[in-house]
Symmetry: C2
Subunit: 243 residues, 2 copies
Amino acid sequence: MRRTAAALIIGNEILSGKIADTNTTLLARLLFDLGIELRRVVVCPDEVDTIGKDLSDLRSTHDLVFTSGGVGPTHDDVTIDGVAESFGRPVVRSVAVEKMIRKYYGDRATEAHFRMANMPEGAEMIRSSDAPWPTVVIENVFVLPGVPEIFELKLTDLRKRLDEGYGFHSQAVYTLCDEGEIAGLLERIAEIFPGVMVGSYIKWQAEDYRTKLTFDGTDREAVARAADMLVDELDAKLFVRRD
Amino acid sequence: MRRTAAALIIGNEILSGKIADTNTTLLARLLFDLGIELRRVVVCPDEVDTIGKDLSDLRSTHDLVFTSGGVGPTHDDVTIDGVAESFGRPVVRSVAVEKMIRKYYGDRATEAHFRMANMPEGAEMIRSSDAPWPTVVIENVFVLPGVPEIFELKLTDLRKRLDEGYGFHSQAVYTLCDEGEIAGLLERIAEIFPGVMVGSYIKWQAEDYRTKLTFDGTDREAVARAADMLVDELDAKLFVRRD
């Protein structure tokens, strides 16, 4: 049974356009590799109640939920409070993380830094060698930081834990077709191979191809046959390459 | 009264990590410039019912909703059906757009191309000189294409229509502070200037600064005074620049 996932991206800086969210794509690629279906991404502001409500919705309707952002030391970092609200648990201070913070900052450690040791009661902490602090996990929710470099480090650590061996397979065919010209063929392929997701992406700016067709699914054989069908039925002049 | 907005980004290609969504940032920046508060972004798959349900939620809770993607000629382009479902209206074919498509594609026009002339009954069409087709608008919902170059063109066209003269003002101060060291000061500034949004962003990779502080609001004077307070109370050694 394929697992489903959702992401909750937290931060006013994304909603105001100050920062472009790149974590969604990192997460989406990892989940795709692992055969986990990312079904929904929500971007919400730094508000405890909004985070709490969104998280409650997402975690009750998906197998796994990943949050990004809002876990630093400043006043707008309220993700932990939102997560705790969603689970109806108090926020407690982890003595272990408090020690790590004291060791890391030494005499410069302030009360604000120690806020990063707060977590919902009963949360699990996944330690990793490379990231400065552990990852907070509570039931099916993984609480990740927004800084892309650390987000990526933590995802790498989570790969092993999340991998159950059901990766997707993927093939792509690059063509000179106009989307409208092959829409009928694509529809037939999608009907014949119901387990294969057929995607079509036009390249607006000049490239060696015009439309890229993608075939994704957990059945490697079916994915290959769907791509074969396209190549076979396509006017040979319009075929560019396949990978 | 500041208007609120939401975005519905439609497409399996984003959820599978094949394509990084860049339209959200373009939209977020435009709305910020116009003083419209983007409160929520949802990324959902190419499914009529999901689109319909998400759109119904978003349009009943926000003043403006923008959709991106799913309006081309292929089988996975189902946004118009989802929008029609949300409004409980039938999908009809626009004779005007059908003519444009015939003119644009000439003899190469297929039935799939003409799907792009489908729209919910009663939709308004905003024409623009640069984009190939008009933008579909229905009540408070703007239906935009996913291809970033066309998305941006259409946004530019919409600017005039959306502008009611309540733009945000913004200032930034770049510092060598660690976030934890100035968290207390930021909290005081946020309390003294409740109409100013105070943001704090650390730069993980080497730059000439370490933490960027941002001040945003509709009251230019209050924004400037909030930034002044930071600069005044900051240890002068830690100040890098202001813009």
